[in-house]
């Protein structure tokens, strides 16, 4: 059974070189020795190296000069479309730049001979522009400031709210009184991050995920990670200031052309290869339905594999650094953007069957307001670090050895060999990346933490479905308000069954269960969770009525929180 580790807030043990919230010392005490600091020191050199490799990769991947030309033309065409609807973060000369390169390309097209070198120059200009945008920075001072600021914010949340429930449920247990839920295989991770390269891959539901997980990484004493943040987040000046200096690099999801993607992947590969711990959300985007990700994007995961392959081949298999993948599950009892996410999800899957009401939740919220809401919201959250795995999805022991089912050690160099020799094979690597993504998906499911809010939402939604006598989700969602009530007795019965089944699953290491869920008194659990579930939503997913009934004000939100426990076969037990 993986042990649960609680980080105790030790306000009396403040130490200026250390985050105030964590008993974990930094594994590398001086920030100047951190890989991210060392790699980021010479930004110009990083940019140049990424540009040259990207250019070479594009030339290598396209068999003929004509193919290179087509790739270039396609990228310019797509960019011309993009600049018609600019974002605030786009550079002011964007339109001018793309018109210029387009004209240049047209000019060369009219000269049938000898334009490959000239086209290469255009390509280099474009790549340089992309890479300069992508490559992040890391600033020691900003890191130190944010390290103090973010825990302050989190402490407020925890001291102000979470602990109250503990008081009620656990009486005077002071140990748990001031706890934050950072759980999982932290010792192993700390140990392996000293000599190896760590790639953190969290689940993704909320815009604040990068802050939460970034804080979690700092709290357990790990050096900061390189991480890809959506360009849209940089439009908030306050956030941009921090992200620009904390190792965040910019990922623009609008740019889907091969040149841009190659530049992004090359940058990621180079940083990981050079030993920079990295973080990316392998789901690619927030899980609209709140279901734990089952399909991952393979692009950035592939860069971790590529970095490991380079480490092995370039050292000829001797003294290489090992890349460890760490699945992290983030769970919230309250997701501010839930109404929008679930609406988008239903629109995507339901197509015309789903009627979207016109008075839609406003989408113009600002990240800051959002952060403030999260910090002051009375909601649970956990960060669960899973066991490290190697780049092929095999589990690793505490010394970093890759293992397979019967506990034997695997020499990972063999994965890159053919007939005994280290060999490059892109198709093989693509299958390996798929294998890794399958391993991560399984780990996400195992590490998912059933919070009180999820349990109650799950039980209530399933009861409504049963009452409605139909399997059609959309008609359940449109259930008239007068039917959307449950008695405490029926809810208690359902919750009890769900908890019983969850406990069994936890025993088999198929999920993690929050301690509050396992507390003996189901009524207290229900009171606690109903009160907390989606507390800041305009319409509450669940609410206690004056007559003591449990009422649902928003079926879609209830579905959203319920979804976190989908995929475990719990429905058979409600």
């Amino acid at each position: 059974m993986p042990k649960l580790i609680y980080l105790h807030i030790m306000a009396d043990q403040q130490d200026n070189s250390q985050s105030t919230t964590s008993p974990y010392k930094r594994i590398i005490p001086d920030i100047e020795d951190w890989p991210i600091h060392i790699i980021s020191k010479n930004r110009e050199q990083v940019i140049q190296s990424v540009v040259e490799e990207t250019l070479q990769n594009i030339i290598n991947k396209n068999a003929t000069e004509k193919d290179v030309h087509n790739e270039l033309a396609k990228a310019i065409y797509l960019e011309k479309i993009r600049v018609e609807r600019p974002w605030k973060t786009d550079p002011p000369d964007d339109k001018k730049f793309w018109t210029e390169v387009k004209n240049k390309l047209v000019e060369f097209e009219s000269h049938p001979d000898g334009n490959i070198e000239a086209e290469k120059e255009i390509l280099r200009r474009i790549i340089t522009r992309y890479v300069t945008e992508i490559v992040g920075n890391f600033n020691k001072g900003t890191y130190q400031f944010s390290e103090r600021f973010v825990p302050f914010a989190f402490n407020r949340l925890l001291n102000a709210s979470h602990s109250r429930a503990f008081v009620r449920l656990f009486g005077n247990k002071k140990d748990l009184l001031k706890s934050i839920h950072v759980i999982g295989e932290i010792d192993q991770l700390r140990n392996l991050a000293k000599d190896g390269i760590v790639v953190v891959v969290p689940t993704h539901t909320s815009n604040i995920d990068s802050i939460t997980v970034g804080w979690g990484i700092s709290a357990i004493g790990l050096p900061a990670c390189f991480y890809g943040a959506g360009l849209n987040l940089f439009s908030v000046r306050f956030l941009a200031y921090f992200m620009n200096r904390l190792g965040a690099y910019r990922v623009d999801r609008r740019k889907k052309n091969a040149v841009y993607l190659e530049a992004l992947k090359t940058y990621s590969t180079q940083t990981i290869y050079q030993g920079g711990h990295s973080l990316f959300f392998p789901g690619g985007t927030r899980s609209r339905s709140n279901v734990v990700e089952t399909q991952l994007k393979l692009g950035l995961l592939g860069t971790a594999l590529e970095a490991q392959r380079r480490q092995i081949i370039n050292t000829n298999g001797e003294g290489f650094k090992k890349v460890y993948v760490v699945p992290v599950t983030l769970n919230y009892g309250f997701v501010l953007e839930a109404p929008e996410l679930i609406d988008e999800h239903l629109r995507n899957v339901g197509k015309e069957r789903y009627f979207v009401p016109s008075d839609k939740y406003s989408s113009s919220y600002k990240i800051l307001k959002f952060l403030y809401r999260f910090i002051t919201a009375d909601a649970d959250f956990t960060i669960a670090f899973g066991r490290c795995m190697d780049i092929f999805g095999n589990p690793v022991d505490d010394n970093g050895n890759s293992l397979y089912q019967n506990g034997n050690v695997i020499d990972i160099r063999d994965y890159f060999k053919s007939k005994g020799e280290l060999k490059y094979d892109t198709q093989r690597d693509a299958v390996y990346t798929k294998m890794l993504s399958e391993g991560i998906v399984k780990a996400f499911k195992r590490n998912n933490v059933a919070l009180p809010e999820h349990v109650i939402a799950y039980a209530a939604f399933k009861l409504f479905q049963q009452k409605h006598h139909t399997s059609d989700l959309y008609s359940v969602l449109r259930m008239p308000e007068e039917f959307r009530e449950l008695s405490k007795d029926e809810l208690r019965e359902a919750v009890r069954k769900v908890v019983k089944e969850l406990t069994k699953l936890e025993h088999k290491e198929e999920i993690r269960v929050d301690p509050i869920v396992k507390a003996e008194d189901t009524d207290e659990l229900i009171d606690y969770a109903v009160k907390k579930l989606g507390v800041y939503h305009a319409k509450r997913p669940l609410l206690k009525t004056k007559k003591g009934m449990i009422k649902c004000q928003d079926m879609k939100l209830l579905l959203f929180y319920h979804n976190r426990l989908e995929g475990y076969g719990l429905e058979k037990h409600v």
Binding site: F392, Q405, N408, K417, K419, Q427, M435
Partner: protein, 347 residues
């Protein structure tokens, strides 16, 4: 020019020997048999499973030697013995080994076995194809399977034939093709390993059914009816298990059906034939030299159909006929009265 390595075949049954002989035309081959006395006998008589062995074949009982000398290995043993075989090999295997199996059977996890026996139900997660078994019991990832109309007797007689090698890895398909292909043997490739495995496995159900049709002299119309409709059931069932329909139209599907459902050389066909002639399944099992995979496959397929609620009247009737001693005439009557709907609904 890189060193040329030997190729291994694990299992010296009739199909294993036939494949070893094919491989020996291009490579040096180690042919492994579990029993030392069998290896001695093959060396002495230069014959394995009634087939003369090629001079490039070295019979061996040493699995360590075979895994050391060969990167490419073809495990070809019955599904009953497959798990033991892979467990014996596992300590010697590495991620750069390539395993292409030729076994047309399924393995059932212990957890699922009881439910299958008691309630004739089994979930897909408790049934493993041989490639899944290799993945779960060893460190090998470069896994493939070979399937197609490959009757061992015809291959060993040197008649022309073809097979399909399915794997997620190009390297596996390529290495398999290079090792096997010859002027009398064509090798195709596929990425749909689950589909190709299931097609090869499940077609044995129809081979048994086809043998019954012959034994009872029900005629060619009845055989065509059984195969066409039975195949539709199999495709629906396989789709529920995540396979691609396309593979069922290829060599491992239609190709193998045509060969096995009409040939008395097929073991499964002869099981059906003897059943129709009044022998019991126990008698038949006891007197066969090698395992007819189809018998177990019928039970598993019926369990899967029940679990996933896929309507499979032909599979169900065959299962009842074999395991519950349903009278053959009653079975035929049931099927002929069964309310059928539209003809082709699976594509």
């Amino acid at each position: 020019m890189s060193k040329k390595y030997s190729v291994g075949v694990v299992g010296a049954g009739s199909f294993g020997t036939a494949v070893a002989n094919l491989l020996a035309e291009n490579n040096h081959v180690y042919l492994y048999s579990r029993r030392a006395e069998n290896v001695d006998e093959i060396i002495r008589s230069k014959t394995s499973s009634n087939q003369k062995i090629h001079e490039n074949i070295t019979p061996t009982n040493d699995i360590g030697l075979l895994t050391r000398e060969c990167y490419l290995i073809f495990p070809i043993v019955s599904s009953d013995g497959f798990k033991d075989m892979i467990r014996t090999m596992a300590p010697f295997l590495r991620p750069d080994h390539i395993l292409i199996h030729g076994t047309k059977g399924l393995a059932v996890k212990k957890k699922g076995l009881d439910k299958l026996k008691q309630r004739a139900r089994i979930a897909g997660k408790n049934v493993l194809t041989m490639s899944e078994l290799i993945r779960s019991e060893s460190v090998v990832v470069r896994v493939g399977c070979m399937a197609g109309p490959n009757l061992a007797k015809e291959i060993s007689a040197g008649l022309p034939a073809a097979t399909v090698i399915a794997s997620r890895f190009d390297e596996v398909i390529h290495e398999g093709q290079m090792a096997l292909k010859s002027p009398r043997f064509q090798v195709y490739g596929s990425y749909d390993i689950v589909g190709v495995e299931l097609a090869g496995v499940l077609k044995n159900i129809l081979a048994i059914g086809s043998g019954i049709v012959s034994g009872l002299n029900l005629g060619e119309n009845a055989r065509a009816l059984l195969i066409t409709k039975g195949w539709a059931e199999i495709i629906k069932l396989s789709e529920a298990l995540g396979a691609d329909v396309k593979s069922f139209l290829g060599l491992a599907g239609i190709g193998d059906i045509i060969a096995t459902c009409s040939s008395p050389n097929s073991r499964n066909y002869s099981v059906g034939y003897r059943l129709a002639k009044g022998e019991t399944i126990t008698d038949i099992r006891n007197t066969m030299e090698e395992v007819a995979e189809g018998i177990n496959t019928i039970r598993i397929a019926n369990g899967l159909a029940n679990y996933y609620k896929v309507n499979c009247p032909i599979i169900k009737t065959l299962a009842q006929g074999i395991f519950e001693e349903l009278d053959v005439q009653a079975g035929i009557e049931y099927l002929m009265k069964y309310r059928m709907s539209m003809d082709v609904e699976f594509i």
